[in-house]
Amino acid sequence: MKIRLENVVKTFETFRAVKDVSLDIDSGELVALLGPSGSGKTTILRMVAGLEYSDGGTIHFGDQDATDIPVRDRGVGFVFQHYALFPHMTVADNIAFGMKVSKVKRDKAAIDARVTDLLRLVRLEGLGDRFPAQISGGQRQRVALARALAVDPKVLLLDEPFGALDANVRRDLRRWLREIHSELGITTLFVTHDQEEALDLADRVVILKDGQIVQQGTPEEVCRDPQSAFVMKFLGDANVIAAEVRDGRAYAGDVSVEAQGVADGRAELYARPSDLDWSHAGPGIAATISRVLDRADGRRVLATTVASETLEFDVEPERIVKAGEAGFVTLRRAKVFPV
């Protein structure tokens, strides 16, 4: 099912949570709404679900105007951040709930068969008799997904689906959700504030700030070509280096990078920790190492430049670097944004 949001607006009291958002989601696409807290991403998701109503604009499901269809009749599967499993029902009863209350009557055998199928799909065979309190967080998440899928939703909506889980479980569930999505091909929209999650899982990432879309594209597009300092900073660690733009090049210390299309004058270089390196000889930005943080996959170096900027970068595990060492930070690549 195709989803189309057109100029959607939502105001809470006096706070404009969503400002004029337009978004197209293709049938079968897996899209992430990514943004910091307060960026309006959950509000957009809840409006698509029908749990909130927009103050302006329209939401179409396919050719149907769904803007004012109540959640009960909208045919969406919604997975809540804290799962919202019914604590007094078993896992099987939770999954069956939607089928039992449905206007489409099913007999008990059909419901049981579907529950068994779904339990197999979410790899929880044999746990149908448990109560939500008796299973782990990751299992609850999968029950919540099975429950949402049980009613054959046209659209699957997930609010911070892995927010409450620990890192390893999140990674597993992410890959698994991707597999389920390719298997079922259901149009899926999910909300997250975790850029890694969005990039890992989604076909397309929609980045939001203050109730507006600031950039959208495939994970490759948004990572390789961030269009603003905000997107650059939000997608990962970034070093900010003051620079001067002259005739399409940005200069900082002894180094310069290409800066086509940036007006002459003050600007900022944005570089990922992996875009920088350390060298004893120039050219580079003269700096002194202030700390070395050892990590599982390498060494993170904190260095202070002569201009008192702190730069962070990674070097290979074998590299010998010590606090107090003076040298040069070299630049492999950087993005330039005007100040």
Partner: protein, 292 residues
């Protein structure tokens, strides 16, 4: 004995032995004098003139009528206040509306106002010289000094009980479960019956029991509006007072023992329910248990 155990350790915070013992001692003494002793006296005094007197008091028509009236008041006031409590808790916890905080305060008023004030107030609203007095008189509706007055007074006094139990719980539960049920296609009524209600049922039952105990024991407000007509508008607490003023101490205690028994049953029911509630949690924590 290990060296660890023999080492003299300073007490943990708040675990000073003298403080602990004196605190427990004071509480036990107070409970004995204030709660246990009167209960024992009721039992002893009720049977002081023998079993026959006790039985005669209980089966006396006035006593039986008082018991009947008390139970009737409870049968009407408790369901009405339960419905009111659920509605109020639902409105306050699931909706946002103007004056919500004020409503919360209003619901609490019967807790803070002396029941006798409520009784007197009803007198001025429904009494012959009261606000609606002439109107009610013209229509020949008797509220005061009759059963409706007793029921209304009881309802006023016990209005907050159910709501008070439900509001904190429903506030903590939030709207997620209802939203989930609705997104799965459940109607509002279905959501209430199969999602909201099961999750508050222990708190609800507890509120109902407290409400019931209070209705049966209510004296102040009922005493003002009922008119104390023996065999007609005397509830059990009023009947006890009447017997006592008639110098029928044994009879008063016998009737009091009935009321005390009702209270004890209430407490037992409450404890059993709490066990049930706790047992449900224990059961769900035990994966081996087959629960479907």
């Amino acid at each position: 004995m290990s060296t660890l155990a023999t080492r003299k350790k300073p007490p943990r915070v708040g675990d000073n032995p003298i403080f602990r013992r004196s605190l427990i001692g004071i509480v036990l003494v107070l409970v004995a004098f204030v709660i246990v002793a009167p209960l024992i006296i009721i039992g002893v005094e009720a049977f002081s003139k023998g079993w026959a007197t006790y039985r005669d008091t209980i089966i006396h028509p006035d006593t039986l009528h008082a018991i009947m009236l008390t139970v009737l008041a409870a049968l009407i006031a408790v369901p009405v206040n339960t419905a009111f409590g659920i509605a109020a808790a639902w409105a306050i916890t699931k909706f946002d509306f103007w004056g919500k905080r004020f409503l919360l305060v209003l619901i609490e008023i019967p807790f803070s106002v002396s029941p006798i004030v409520a009784g007197v107030a009803y007198l001025f609203v429904y009494g012959l010289q009261g606000l609606f007095g002439p109107l009610l008189d013209a229509w020949d509706i008797k509220i005061l000094f009759a059963i409706p007055g007793i029921v209304i007074a009881s309802m006023f006094v016990t209005a907050p009980f159910v709501a008070r139990e439900l509001i904190p719980l429903m506030q903590a539960q939030g709207r997620d479960l209802e939203e989930a049920a609705t997104s799965l296609g459940a109607s509002g009524f279905r959501t209430f019956l199969s999602v909201t209600l099961p999750n508050v049922k222990w708190a609800l039952l507890y509120g109902v029991i407290l409400c019931n105990a209070r209705v049966m024991g209510e004296f102040g407000a009922v005493s003002v509006v009922s008119g104390n007509i023996r065999g007609q508008t005397n509830t059990l607490p009023l009947h006890i007072e009447l017997l006592y003023h008639d110098y029928q101490a044994a009879g008063a205690f016998a009737s009091a023992s009935i009321l005390a028994l009702l209270a004890v049953f209430t407490i037992i029911a409450k404890v059993l329910l709490e066990r049930q509630g706790a047992g449900r949690v224990r059961k769900t924590a035990n994966p081996a248990e087959k629960t479907s």
